[in-house]
């Protein structure tokens, strides 16, 4: 509603004693309030083929805690996990907000997208006469969104959902959308990576991305580079078994080819991370996770399909920045 129209309405209805003005103005104000809250990021979150671990990880965010994220940071307009609405009401919310916030909302996809048989392996909602597949929803919403964020390794690259033999033909969001996708990979994502990416979009716009579309803010360096046990690696002091305090390379660690800041950020209120827990990093942020990381407890050069040696050659296409950090760095 334009200013002039508003003033005229007020004049016209000011003297009528039946609350007609209130009735006309309230919906307009409500629409205004929902449309113009520039302080919060409008988000539509679609869960597709996944384990739901990324929404659980998101619940573990601290400062801001989840409640603060909802009240202060994002308007989570649709989310299968969190929304109070259900059934056809939820579906109406999705349809209305996608149109109302067209070009302004951030689409978050959690999970891979099955494409085999037109995507029938994942249906996000049904009506009496049709199935809305993840493929339909992501394709349609992806066209309307301002930003698309793939939350987790399944949504980013296919992940465990697309692990061999991948019977449902699942792929990452980037393979079904003809536009930029911000990949926040991880199995699950550290809540800081995900909440931090949303915060960047809200406060500063698009973050700088690496060659796999991931914010360099979180994925700029390898686990290996910042690992607390790097000195053991450099001295060839390797763990003999899980539970030891030496370098986990011998126990299958893929830190040398995994981009993530786990060693210094750590997890769940920053208390721990896998190598500190005397186990290997299994490379859950990688494009080829999990198939490129298995067998998990076999040293990197001997893993199936791996040619890498510590500090050695490239292991697979698309992970250029993750390898090549040998002991001399």
């Amino acid at each position: 509603m334009q200013q002039q129209e508003f003033i005229e309405l007020c004049r016209e209805l000011a003297l009528v004693d039946d609350h007609a003005l209130t009735r006309v103005i309230l919906p307009v104000i409500k629409e205004h309030l929902t449309r113009s809250n520039q302080n919060k990021l409008p988000v539509i979150w679609v869960e597709t083929n996944d384990s739901g671990d990324n929404n659980i990880a998101f619940m573990n965010t601290t400062f801001p805690y989840l409640g603060q994220v909802f009240s202060e940071m994002i308007d989570l307009l649709y989310s299968n996990t969190f929304m109070a609405a259900q059934g056809v009401d939820a579906l109406m919310v999705l349809e209305q907000t996608a149109v109302l916030y067209k070009g302004r909302f951030t689409l978050v996809v959690e999970g891979a997208v099955p494409v085999k048989d037109n995507g029938i392996y994942n249906i996000i909602a049904r009506t009496e006469n049709r199935n809305i597949t993840a493929l339909d929803a992501v394709s349609r919403l992806g066209k309307l969104a301002q930003y698309v964020v793939a939350n987790g390794t399944c949504a980013s690259f296919g992940g465990p959902t697309a692990a061999r033999p991948n019977l449902s033909g699942s792929v990452g969001v980037r393979d079904v959308l003809d536009r930029e996708v911000i990949n926040v990979s991880g199995c699950p994502t550290n809540p800081d990576w995900f909440v931090g990416t949303l915060a960047h979009l809200l406060l500063y716009g698009r973050p700088e991305l690496d060659n796999l579309g991931r914010p360099t803010l979180f994925y700029g360096f390898t686990v290996h580079r910042h690992c607390q046990r790097r000195s053991y690696f450099d001295r060839d002091d390797f763990a003999e078994k899980l539970g030891d305090i030496e370098c986990m390379f011998s126990q299958g660690c893929v830190g040398p080819r995994t981009s993530a800041d786990c060693p210094y950020r750590q997890w769940i209120n920053y208390v721990n991370w896998p190598v500190r827990a005397n186990t290997p990093c299994i490379g859950c942020t990688n494009e080829d996770f999990p198939d490129g990381s298995t067998p998990f407890f076999t040293p990197l050069p001997e893993k199936s399909g791996q040619a890498a040696t510590p500090g050695g050659a490239q292991t697979s296409p698309g992970v250029q920045i993750t390898v090549g950090e040998g002991r001399n760095e």
Partner: protein, 469 residues
Amino acid sequence: MSKQKIMFSPVTRLSGLLSVEVIVEQGRVVEANASGTMFRGYEWIMRNRHVTDAVYLTQRVCGICSLAHGAMASYLLDELYANELSENAQFLRNVMYGADFLQNHIRHFYLFSLPDFVRMPDYPPYHGQNLTDARLGPIDNQRLVDNYFEAIKAAQRSHEILALFGGKAPHQHSFVHGGVAVAPTADKINRALALLDSIHEFVKTCLIPDTELIARVYDDYFKIGLTFGRLLSFGLFKFGPHNEQLLWRGGVLNDGRLTAPRLDLIKEDVTSSWYAVQAVPGADDWGVEPAPQKPGAYTWIKSVRYAGQHYETGPLARMIINGFYNGGTSTMDRIYARSLETMLITELMREWLLKLQPGPAPLKQNPEPVKSEVVVTTDAMRGALLHSARIVDEQVERYNIITPTVWNFSPKDQHGRGPVESALVGTSIPKLDMLSTILGRIVRSYDPCISCATHVMDAEGNKQDKIVF
């Protein structure tokens, strides 16, 4: 009211994707089809991999109960490799297992179930709530909304205990075969105790009174969503050097008779599921493959039966079988039993933390498998969980998982309806605009996890009836 077919979809506030189609006639649900609408297929993913990968890979089956799958895979490997577990390893494992239960139950009650009974604030993601049967007064309602936001912190602290020992959560790293890879040091034990104290305080002063309030105000739900009263649990909290002792016993409760679960009586079926069974020439068993267009099928969840009958599983089954709860099998009984169990687990975890001896990582893995086939069972958060594996040279040939949600959300087969569909059928719907509210309450009382439940089994009804392979 004439006969009406109504689609309740999406059923939000749960793990995974679920739709429920009901037929309502003269104000009553006369038929219900619960559809898990996502296909995952972990049993196939596990094939032709090193069997020790199961600890980390099967956790990816589920985000909200990931540790349960990692624990089951660890128990499975313990038996395959004949590991001997120290007492410290078992205390530590159960502290971690308990922490993930607290996380799950607190989140389920507040984040998923509460908006079925409480008016939430009018901003996203709570907008458009349409709670057609809100009964709490403004003061009680506000208190529960406040506790919703406190619950977020209590659940986060539960995962902090898990991560303290497990490296991260979900998908922890240190609970592996042979024990736990993290040393229980005094500082960690102390920190875990402090975190646990604050969770215990929350459970005592919020979760329990809030559950009692909801149970009092919505007491008609002690008569809504009833099942047939057949309950199943595989028991919970394993102890002993070979995981042979269970703190909470398992059992099969049928018509007041409690017997020990027999694995040979478990049978899976795909009559109403999107899978085709094909005889594999020359093989002893049957091949199963996804068949999303199969006529008459309506879900990716297979059905499972015990001695030819459907069974309900979950906290209610555990609490009744172990004599901690003496109630019925209704919507509110399920909610009540889950909260009661949460309280009991906070007390047990304190006991275990105090019994832990500070020392090195309690872990000893034997290098060679001594068996080639293993079936292990225990309960996860949502009830009875089974993993089984057959290996050749440490490579997985077959891996099967039967999750609790498969028991509860079993579709129809020649033996009738599964628990959830039975609970829905017969429900009175006084007004059609109450349908989602009423169905949502009943369905969520099972704490459904569809991501867990929608897997391909490897084989069904083979000649030896060894269904678990």
